[in-house]
C-alpha cells in the first residue's frame, strides 16, 4: 500500500511540475491521473520501496553521482578521439562478464552505467546465471574473470552497497 501512495505523490508532483499552473482544474485532473497511474502500474516496481531512506545507503548514492558524470565526460572524449582518428583504432567484440548483483534495480543501474561508461555497451543480461554480455570496442582480454576485473568491478562495488 505504501508503494502506491509514494507512486501517487510522485505522479501528482510530476503533473503539477509539467503543467506549471495551480488552478483548481489542473489539480483535480492531476489527482485523477495520479490515482489511475498508481493503481495500474504499481506492481511493476520494486518491493522494497523505502530502501534509499537509510543512513548507510544514502551517502554512497551521493558519492556515485559525480563518479558517474566524470565517467560520462571521459567516455565522450574517448569516443570523439576514436571517430576523428584517420585509421579508426577499434578492435570490437562481444565478451562475457560475471556479476553478483541479484535485485532488478541494481541490475538496471549497472547496465545503464556500463552503457554510458567509456568503451562498453550492454547487449543482453542473463539473470539466472548472473552473466552480462558486453560489446567492447577495444578488446583487451577474452577471459571471463579478467574482463570482469577490468569492466564491472569498480561500479559493482558501489552498487552492491547501495541496492543490496
Amino acid at each position: 500500500m505504501i508503494k502506491r501512495v509514494i507512486l501517487f505523490i510522485g505522479a501528482f508532483f510530476t503533473w503539477i511540475f509539467l503543467s506549471w499552473d495551480t488552478d483548481m482544474e489542473h489539480i483535480i485532473v492531476g489527482i485523477a491521473i495520479g490515482i489511475f497511474v498508481s493503481f495500474m502500474t504499481a506492481d511493476l516496481f520494486e518491493k522494497r520501496t523505502l530502501i534509499l531512506v537509510n543512513l548507510k545507503r544514502c551517502p554512497w548514492f551521493f558519492y556515485y553521482i559525480p563518479l558517474f558524470i566524470w565517467e560520462c565526460i571521459k567516455a565522450n572524449i574517448d569516443g570523439a578521439y576514436r571517430v576523428v582518428h584517420p585509421d579508426l583504432p577499434i578492435r570490437p567484440g562481444i565478451v562475457k562478464v560475471r556479476t553478483t548483483l541479484k535485485s532488478d534495480t541494481g541490475l538496471t543501474f549497472l547496465a545503464n552505467t556500463l552503457t554510458l561508461k567509456p568503451g562498453t555497451l550492454t547487449v543482453d543480461i542473463d539473470k539466472e546465471n548472473g552473466f552480462l554480455y558486453i560489446h567492447w570496442i577495444d578488446v583487451k582480454t577474452q577471459g571471463v574473470e579478467a574482463a570482469t576485473e577490468l569492466i564491472v568491478h569498480k561500479f559493482e562495488r558501489i552498487l552492491k552497497k547501495i541496492f543490496e
Partner: protein, 111 residues
C-alpha cells in the same frame, strides 16, 4: 555572466553532438555506430539543456529542462540496449575484423 557560461555549455554540447553523428556515418557496423552515437548524443543534448537552464534561470522553461536531463539519462541507455539486442537476434553479423563473439557461441550451445 550566466549567459556566457550558457553559451559555453551550448557550444560544447553541439560539438559533442557533431562528433557523435560523424561516428554514425564513419564506423563500420550497427554495434559500433550505436556505441559511438548514443554516448556523445546523450551527454551533448544534456549539456545543451543545462545551457538553456543557465539562460532562463529558475522559471518554467529552466526547471523543465532539468527534468528533461533526468529523463534523457534514464531512457537513452535503455533504447541502446533494446536496439542492440534486437539487432543481434534478427541476425545482423558483426564486422569481419571483430575479435570474438561470446553471445552467439552461447546461443548456439543453448539451442
Amino acid at each position: 555572466m550566466n549567459e556566457i557560461f550558457g553559451l559555453i555549455f551550448i557550444i560544447v554540447g553541439v560539438a559533442f553532438d557533431f562528433f557523435g553523428c560523424l561516428g554514425l556515418v564513419r564506423l563500420p557496423d550497427v554495434y559500433n555506430r550505436l556505441h559511438s552515437s548514443i554516448k556523445c548524443v546523450t551527454l551533448g543534448t544534456s549539456s545543451i539543456l543545462f545551457g538553456l537552464f543557465l539562460f532562463k534561470g529558475f522559471n518554467e522553461a529552466g526547471l523543465k529542462a532539468l527534468l528533461c536531463i533526468l529523463f534523457l539519462i534514464l531512457t537513452a541507455p535503455v533504447t541502446a540496449h533494446v536496439l542492440s539486442r534486437s539487432a543481434h537476434k534478427s541476425g545482423v553479423k558483426l564486422w569481419e575484423k571483430s575479435v570474438c563473439d561470446k553471445y552467439s557461441e552461447d546461443k548456439d550451445a543453448l539451442s
